[in-house]
């Protein structure tokens, strides 16, 4: 079981209100990703759930029990830290066994569970090494191993992949997702990387300045962002946001259109513009097109397109994919 409910949570450090007031429900078995720019309070929120920080007011319930005043050791949650936080003086085996030792398991039971976890994480050959003798990816796996052996109610991940290189990050991302699918335990994952959020989450919680901007499935957030902030944050490259007369013509304060929803043509279209920078990824090409009265827009085209810098092109937004936002930033439906 791993249902977590946050009720009216606030957190202040001195006079700084990191989390003004927040409600959130996380269902058992969900993979929830907290995403947001740095300083948005996502790590603080995770630490409040872990019990490493105390809430200033409000309640935290874990599986229906009030855990607000329960110390971290007794909450039944496991955490994987950004820095891995392995015990440098212990072997990998003892690192993974540490939570079991704390739980009072005997040596035989400990060793059986450590072996099982090591097998899942491909660490069997490294059990007698010290953390200092492992690579970054291996250390991360040890940290995950230490989390899974104790069969926690939920896993908390605090930007676990940010110290790894790009290739390793992709493979660890898949490993964690697969781990979630086989364990079916609640996972809460903090990241500032919206690609991680999109690819891993059952449910994304977008945070900004300690407030929840939107909660939903990755595709729901992508297709129907609740406000300008989410629209701009989710999706790579970013959604084009257009202010001024062109937005007003559509009856909105801000108009949003994703790069792939702009049709590019040499002959005719709604907006006439000049091609600037282009980025060629092979599978896709991104163009920056400057349109008079609209601004600079990013356009995504599949494969290679024969358009060069300085060419005049026409762009046509796909009407069903236009996002309209009011002056408050809220989406207009």
């Amino acid at each position: 079981m791993g249902q977590i409910v946050l009720k009216q949570i606030t957190k202040s450090f001195g006079t700084v209100h990191v989390i003004p007031c927040l409600d959130l429900e996380i269902d058992d078995g969900e993979f929830v990703v907290f995403v947001g720019p740095s300083g948005c309070g996502k790590s603080t929120l995770l630490r409040l759930i872990a019990g490493l920080e105390d809430v200033s007011s409000g309640h935290i319930e874990i599986d229906g029990r009030d855990a607000t005043a329960v110390p971290p050791a007794k909450r039944g949650l496991a955490m994987v830290f950004q820095s891995y936080a392995l015990y440098p003086h212990m072997s990998v085996r003892n690192n993974i066994a540490f939570p079991l030792r704390m739980a009072g398991l005997d040596k035989a039971a400990r060793s059986a569970r450590v072996e099982a976890a090591a097998k899942i994480l491909n660490l069997t050959d490294y059990l007698d090494r010290r953390p200092g003798q492992l690579s970054g990816g291996q250390r991360q796996r040890v940290a995950i191993g230490r989390a899974i052996v104790r069969e926690p109610a939920a896993f908390l991940f605090d930007e676990p992949l940010s110290n790894l290189d790009a290739a390793l990050r992709v493979s660890m991302r898949q490993e964690i997702t697969e781990l979630h699918q086989s364990l079916k335990t609640t996972m809460i994952y903090v990241t500032h990387d919206q690609v991680e959020a999109m690819t891993m989450a059952d449910k994304i919680v977008v945070l900004n300045a300690g407030r929840i901007e939107q909660v939903g499935t990755p595709l729901a957030l992508y297709a129907t962002p609740a406000n300008v902030f989410v629209a701009g944050f989710i999706g790579s490259p970013r959604m084009n946001l257009i202010d001024g007369a062109e937005a007003a013509r559509h009856g909105a304060a801000t108009l949003g259109i994703r790069p792939e929803h702009l049709a590019l043509s040499r002959d005719d279209g709604a907006w006439k513009g000049v091609v600037g920078l282009s980025e060629h990824l092979g599978s896709d090409t991104f163009f920056r097109v400057t349109v008079d009265g609209v601004g600079s827009l990013t356009v995504r085209q599949s494969g290679e397109v024969d358009v060069k810098r300085g060419d005049t092109v026409f762009l046509t937004p796909s009407a069903p994919h236009l996002h309209r936002f009011a002056a408050t930033g809220e989406a207009m439906r």
């Binding site: 490493l52 496991a78 936080a85 015990y87 440098p88 003086h89 540490f98 704390m102 230490r146 908390l156």
Partner: protein, 276 residues
């Protein structure tokens, strides 16, 4: 050209270093040499360097007159006892100040240090009276207590600096892994801080070993450590340089040996690889 300058520079620096080193070491060397002379040779003028008859007579006399091993044992008990007791108190204290600092933590640290600025003689009379009334005068327990209190600020400061180096996330990880405070300190913090704790221990054993004010004033015979043993040769019966030197050599030898052998322990870095 650059190389020539650097070689000359090296030579000068080496020469200066050796000179300073020898100048500092000379009194110790002279003490050791004198301890092997007869009393007459010890005060000979001009002084004799190596051309004298080596004798162990002073050592025999010293051991015969005042039991070296009893004083030695007192020194061991007092210096290790006070340091271990101090560590027992200082580890939790430094833990709390390093990892859960409050608004006044800095002030508390400064206040602790400020107690070291008070001249010990300022509290000699009250402490003497307390010791007299509680029967602690001339007991090893009394000296252990007083030296613990004297060196506690230094122990806490040293441990505090070492603990500060340990990433807090590792202790948080221990907490998430179900460790209570006792297990956290016992199984995670202390083993990681072993080099720091070892050097703190060594330094404080040396400080306590050499402490002469309290050990001289609060002991008579029973609990007298090696400081009192040396002092007993400097006083009333006139100048016995050779015997005084033998006593001094005997008193500093153990701590020199300890320092020599523990050098390696102090520099072993255990925290490597903890983070990143």
């Amino acid at each position: 050209m650059a190389r020539a300058v650097s070689v000359r520079r090296k030579a000068v620096v080496t020469l200066v270093a050796w000179t300073v080193g020898l100048a500092i070491f000379f009194p110790i060397l002279w003490t050791i040499l004198t301890s092997f002379k007869t009393e007459a040779q010890a005060i000979a003028s001009p002084p004799l360097f190596f051309g004298f008859d080596w004798t162990l007579e002073n050592y025999a006399t010293v051991q015969e007159r005042s039991d070296y091993f009893r004083h030695f044992w007192n020194s061991v008990v007092i210096s290790f006892g006070s340091t271990l007791l101090g560590l027992l108190i200082a580890i939790p204290a430094a833990w709390s100040m390093a990892f859960v600092p409050g608004r006044r933590t800095k002030d508390v640290l400064m206040w602790m240090l400020s107690t070291k600025m008070l001249p010990p003689v300022g509290v000699l009379i009250p402490i003497y009276l307390i010791f007299r009334d509680t029967g602690l005068l001339d007991t090893r327990l009394g000296l252990v207590i007083v030296l613990t209190l004297i060196n506690l600020p230094i122990i806490i400061w040293m441990l505090f600096t070492y603990f500060k180096e340990i990433p807090g996330e590792i202790l948080e990880a221990a907490r998430m892994d179900g460790a209570d405070l006792r297990s956290e300190i016992l199984y995670v913090l202390t083993p990681m801080a072993v080099p720091g704790i070892a050097s703190t221990l060594l330094l404080n054993v040396i400080l306590a070993w050499n402490e002469a004010f309290w050990t001289l004033n609060l002991t008579a015979a029973q609990a007298a450590p090696l400081t009192a043993f040396i002092a007993s040769y400097s006083s009333p019966e006139g100048l016995f340089y050779a015997k005084l030197s033998a006593a001094s050599t005997l008193a500093i030898a153990p701590i020199l040996v300890l320092g020599w052998f523990s050098q390696k322990q102090l520099v072993r870095g255990l925290t490597f690889g903890a983070v990143k």
